[in-house]
């Protein structure tokens, strides 16, 4: 009978809290959007599923061994941990959890050994997160894969489109200001690191957002990643009204000159030139852009096709699976069900909108100073969201001139946006670290 009660007390139903139920419903909705509506399914299916796993009551899949030891609630264990954290007085386990979250690495090492001694283990998703995201490796490998899948031909044929990719990053930094504003007016409580991590949603680039969030605001990573991928999927709804509002019908009908042929050699040199520029100007962007350039060089150099193929297939797929599950581990109720998440969702859509507008306006500005006209509709593609944003440019363009295919022209700013947001990520990580010291 005792055993039966034990099993019942162990069951999820008994331990379930409202927050966990809510999170499960949210994750089911993510799965619905991914599977039925095609919202970035490669990421949102693993994220949504990981989120459900993270919220299974009593399983502790997303918790570290120390957290599981604290949640286990054994008085002797709690006492031992409180001593390690130098807590003289504490009332609830939450006090110990707080102490754990603010402990220094040396103290954490002791706590880990103590928890291991009491037979507690890291949850599966916590291990995935540590290996894939906390180490930074998974977003970097994805970036390498994206590099191996990217054709810089359109950008090289028309390098001016890099300015569109630069302008669209305006969304990132205004969003930072927005987050800071919310914080200074007391509506939300974002630190400068939080604000920077939220801003990067406007980069419209999943791995970049995850990488920055993991460095600056790991607690917000779940919400930031969900916002980034959801809005990327919503680009066909967010962008067109803004594009129409900021352009005249004549501008939308501008036919661009056909892109020149780009030689193989230019494509081989490009990632090396970009890398050297990063090395000289912005070392803090080196991990992201370095891996990106490496992937692209493998693609273009033509002598390591077997490495390039594996990077584009097995390696990026395996990494995507574990990256997604790991992001899902950050969808625990106590982290996600917070007013901050609402702030992140609102600021994220602002970031996309401002970025889109800035890209379009930059295109119009370029048209003022240059003879060779740019259709401003391709400016919106500067936010990244490859290749969705470029397709949106193409689609809106076709509405006004059914013969005007903008897709290849829009691919230039589109991939420029990836570089632009990686640069922005580097600047922000570097500056925020200097603020915090």
């Amino acid at each position: 009978m005792e055993n039966f009660l034990g099993l019942w007390a162990d069951s999820g139903l008994y331990q379930m809290q409202w927050g966990q139920i809510t999170m499960m419903l949210i994750c089911l909705m993510l799965l619905f959007l991914a599977i039925r509506k095609g919202f970035e399914p490669l990421l949102l299916v693993p994220i949504g599923f990981g989120g459900i796993l993270a919220n299974i009551p009593g399983a502790g899949l997303a918790s570290s061994a120390v957290e599981n030891a604290i949640l286990g609630g054994d008085p002797a264990v709690l006492k031992g941990l409180a001593e390690i954290f130098a807590l003289n007085t504490w009332e609830t386990t939450q006090d110990i959890l707080n102490a754990y979250h603010h402990a220094k690495p040396a103290v954490l090492a002791d706590a880990k050994l103590f928890a291991a001694g009491a037979d507690y283990q890291n949850g599966m998703l916590y291990n995935f997160y540590s290996v894939a995201i906390a180490s930074g490796v998974a977003p970097l490998v994805i970036f390498m894969g994206v590099g191996a899948m990217t054709d810089f031909g359109p950008l090289l044929a028309n390098p001016r489109t890099l300015f569109l990719g630069a302008a669209a990053q305006f969304g990132i930094f205004t969003t930072v200001l927005g987050a800071v504003f919310l914080s200074s007016t007391g509506i939300m409580d974002f630190s400068i690191a939080d604000a920077a991590a939220i801003g990067i949603i406007g980069g419209a680039d999943g791995p970049t957002a995850i990488y920055v969030a993991s460095k600056l605001a790991p607690d917000l990573l779940g919400a930031i990643a969900v916002a980034a991928y959801s809005y990327m999927a919503l680009v066909p709804m967010i962008q067109p009204p803004i594009m129409r509002a900021l352009t005249t019908a004549d501008e939308r009908k501008i036919v661009m000159t056909q892109l020149r042929h780009v030689s193989k050699r230019e494509k081989i040199f490009f990632p090396i030139v970009l890398l050297i520029l990063v090395a000289l100007i912005l070392p803090s962007a080196a991990p992201l852009l370095g891996m990106f350039c490496f992937g692209n060089l493998m693609r273009e150099c033509g002598v390591v096709n077997r490495l390039s193929d594996t990077t584009q297939n097995a390696l990026i797929n395996i990494t995507t699976i574990f990256l997604g599950l790991s992001v899902g581990s950050k969808l625990a109720a106590d982290k996600f069900l917070d007013p901050k998440t609402l702030g992140i969702l609102i600021l994220g859509v602002v970031a996309f909108a401002v970025g889109t507008a800035a890209g379009v306006l930059m295109a119009k500005l370029l048209n003022m100073v240059s003879k060779q006209k740019i259709n401003p509709l391709i400016g919106s593609a500067g936010v990244s969201a490859v290749p969705m944003a470029a397709r949106v440019s193409n689609k809106v363009g076709l509405e006004y001139n059914p013969q005007n295919f903008l897709l290849m022209h829009a691919m230039g700013p589109n991939v420029a946006g990836v570089i632009g947001s990686a640069v922005a990520a580097g600047v922000m990580i570097s500056m925020v670290n200097s603020f915090l010291q």
């Binding site: 990053q169 030139v273 100007i281």
Partner: protein
């Protein structure tokens, strides 16, 4: 000297956006110089250590009868279904 949150946000905006523009402007310059240099001095003598990767080649050419293609595609599926574990 710890500046205020707003000041930090403004700094991020100004120096961040500044770096992005400076960097991408430099990239425009470098890429233009690079393309000019390559096309002028190195000629269009392609680096042809290996044939162009196959899939890309295929994406452009379409000189196979679609019907034949369909049959072969079907055959490939069957072949895979038979050989794959």
């Amino acid at each position: 000297m710890q500046s205020t949150l707003t000041q930090q946000g403004l700094d991020l905006l100004i120096f961040g956006m500044g770096t992005v523009f400076v960097f991408l402007t430099l990239l425009v310059v470098c890429v233009t110089v690079m393309s000019t240099f390559i096309n002028k001095f190195l000629g269009e003598e392609e680096v042809a250590n290996e044939p162009k990767p196959a899939p890309k080649k295929a994406a452009n050419s379409a000189n196979v009868d679609p019907k034949v293609l369909a049959v072969i595609q079907q055959a490939i599926y069957q072949h895979r279904a038979k050989t794959q574990p």
